[in-house]
């Protein structure tokens, strides 16, 4: 995808994020702007890095890691980054993703209805397995390290 496609979609996404932040989380548009700009800047930079770095990884890994590094203690701008992006509520950028994803998977509705119950079973199984698995390991490590 070309960069101008990216810029356009990011621009629209930014506008919608600011709207979400306003309606859902009572943050004024003006206040949201620096945070939104930072998030999109990191997204673009991540995309750029993924193209120039020879290791083949999905670009969001670069985006998330870039965010991680910029907000971590070793970063000189961590305070600024945290201060402005904290104004953007956690779930605000996700609402627009929900909308666009819903549009794109709308064509699969009939299919999903047919197999939906299977996902319910698997969903419960996954949650159960994750919890029990972690509890077992945690308990064992605590025992081995003598803490219990």
């Amino acid at each position: 995808m070309k960069y101008r496609d990216w810029l356009l979609i990011l621009f629209v996404t930014s506008v919608i994020m600011a709207i979400s932040n306003l309606i859902g989380y009572k943050t004024s548009i003006i206040e949201s702007i620096p945070g939104v700009v930072i998030l999109c800047g990191i997204a673009l930079l991540g995309q750029f890095l993924s193209q120039i770095i020879p290791v083949k990884l999905p670009m969001i890994l670069y985006v998330t890691t870039l965010g991680l590094i910029l907000a971590s203690p070793i970063s000189p701008i961590s305070d600024i980054v945290l201060q402005y992006t904290n104004k953007i509520a956690f779930m605000a950028p996700v609402t627009v993703v929900g909308a666009v994803t819903g549009i794109s998977i709308g064509k699969d509705y009939v299919e999903f209805k047919r197999v939906g119950w299977k996902f319910l079973v698997i969903g419960l199984l996954v949650i159960t397995g994750t919890f029990i698995g972690s509890a077992i390991v945690a308990h064992m490590v605590l025992k081995v390290t003598g803490r219990i």
Partner: protein, 267 residues
């Protein structure tokens, strides 16, 4: 400039509808209600998704197939600012976690064990590649981003991830609370271990589990909240890397190994 105008015209309907959907969803806001042990919390994202699906070609028919496909490409880009935010949140929390030690980190690997059970079951139920996306993790927001980018927005694997995400959103919280109390009643696990296990990567699920556990073990309540929160935070930080470098490859290998044996092609 002409290119941009053409592009806007094509995607205009999607953008405008998306804005309207978001406005409606945010106006509905976050809805939470108590159900037995736990609380169900429904975010605007879910409403936007549901209404958007209703508008699709299979139901109301406001969107045509072509437009659905165009929207797929948009999802890829639209989720990136959110992924940036996740990274930032994680980065801000690193100092807190360095203080906490190995048990917390190691129990993250416990999160992987689940797929050895869930993938075979999924295959036996007749699922195909959706099983991979559905089973490699508990599928919260981070995994949506990861799946979309690793498997593609239109793939069966990503559909699997989304399906589990939706189910987790609706009943995950209540079920976690229930599960935590069940595990506590077995008396096989130390409250600290259960507290750590509560951090699966979903704040609401973690809250349900820790609240239930604190209720059962009041003397350990503070520890449980702290460990659950820390474990959840840790999953937030390592989730995408564990997913990408460990869980997804593992799930793919498991699937390739088991599908010929258990998959519906056999029957």
């Amino acid at each position: 400039m002409y290119y941009v105008v053409e592009k806007i015209k094509k995607e205009f309907k999607i953008y405008i509808t998306a804005i309207i959907l978001v406005v409606i969803s945010e106006c509905i806001g976050t809805i939470s209600f108590q159900v037995g042990w736990g609380k169900i919390v429904l975010f605007p994202m879910l409403f936007a998704l549901i209404i958007a699906v209703l508008l699709g070609p299979d139901l109301i028919g406001y969107f045509k197939l072509e437009e659905c496909k165009t929207a797929s490409a948009l999802v890829l880009v639209a989720i990136t600012p959110f992924m940036a935010k996740l990274g930032i949140l994680a980065g801000g929390n690193i100092p807190k976690l360095v203080a906490l030690g190995p048990a917390l980190i190691l129990q993250e690997f416990g999160n992987l064990g689940t797929m050895f059970l869930s993938i075979p079951v999924a295959l036996l139920l007749g699922m195909k590649r959706e099983a991979i996306g559905a089973c490699y993790s508990i599928n919260r927001e981070t995994n949506l981003g990861l799946s979309i980018h690793v498997f593609g927005p239109d793939s069966p694997e990503t559909r699997g991830t989304f399906a589990i995400y939706i189910i987790g959103s609706v009943i995950g919280t209540v079920y976690m609370g229930f599960l935590a109390s069940l595990m506590a009643s077995t008396k096989l696990f130390h409250p600290w271990a259960l507290g750590m296990a509560s951090g699966v990567g979903s704040g609401s699920m973690m809250a349900a589990a820790t609240a239930t556990l604190a209720n059962i073990y009041p003397e350990y309540a503070n520890d449980i909240f702290m460990l659950g929160g820390a474990s959840d935070m840790l999953t937030g930080i390592d989730g995408i890397y564990m997913g990408m470098f460990v869980a997804i490859p593992l799930a793919l290998k498991l699937y390739d190994w088991l599908a010929p044996k258990l998959g519906s092609q056999k029957q």
